[in-house]
Symmetry: C2
Amino acid sequence: MTPNENPAPGERAVWQVRPIGLVRSPFTSQAGVPVQPALAGPEDAGTIEIYEQFAEGLDGLDGFERIWVVSWFHRTGPVRLRVTPYLDQRQRGLFATRAPSRPNPIGISAVRLLRRAGRVLHVAELDLLDGTPVLDLKPYSPTFDVFPASRQGWLEERSRQTGRADGRFDQDR
Amino acid sequence: MTPNENPAPGERAVWQVRPIGLVRSPFTSQAGVPVQPALAGPEDAGTIEIYEQFAEGLDGLDGFERIWVVSWFHRTGPVRLRVTPYLDQRQRGLFATRAPSRPNPIGISAVRLLRRAGRVLHVAELDLLDGTPVLDLKPYSPTFDVFPASRQGWLEERSRQTGRADGRFDQDR
């Protein structure tokens, strides 16, 4: 395999991404999907199927309780730079939200890894639609990823509620 | 703006990503770059310059102490599915590491947001090379992103040391 081409310095390049696998989940439409893994439960379970050609890269992932799933939001509608996020009633700048309709519709989900069966990962606390393409997996590390005291702007109050998506960012709306 | 094209179900599609901005940092080569924001310090500071056309999406980001920078590792070498990560002496499956040479070389960095000046974000605890393309920004949320007790496999011991990169994943090696 070769890496993607690099741009000339200063150039506004375009790069290509390709799925390394696929999410299988009980969620077939955006309405009802947990807004985040942290707002999902153990019953929100599914699998991540990694394509054969990438299976070797999974070695050692089993040791991690949680993994980052970097995904492609394949069902989102047009990009809007101001959105009303699921957990709020006010418009916010898109980048101050985790709404899926983004210039590069890339998601990051810290899901719980239950077990690995070859190239199939059984996961829970899943917030991704069935069929979501997976671009990357990374280990979740408390050392790297935990910053507990961080101020969280408009989410400070809102994030204490549980959240399920409606269809507001769906391509079909 | 329109979203990227969606693939037919089951198709192994290719999508395009485009930078929304650029990292300016003191790091001009991989050797010496902090391995993760958590292993960087306040002196590892820089800016993230978001292109004008996306500036409106930054509204409200100031309220967050920390932000996820989703970046494109533009200087990495060929993909290997087994790598010896910076913090270890043993080969691991690529997806059990945060090494930059990945099938889709996408990075996630939780950097500290110091202040925003229009479309320029002043940040610290930065682990990205100067010129790194930015694909997305998301608010870091303790509610969504903090899972403190997670087991972390081979990183359990290793992550207590501080880490700076050498050039092992550089395209020029």
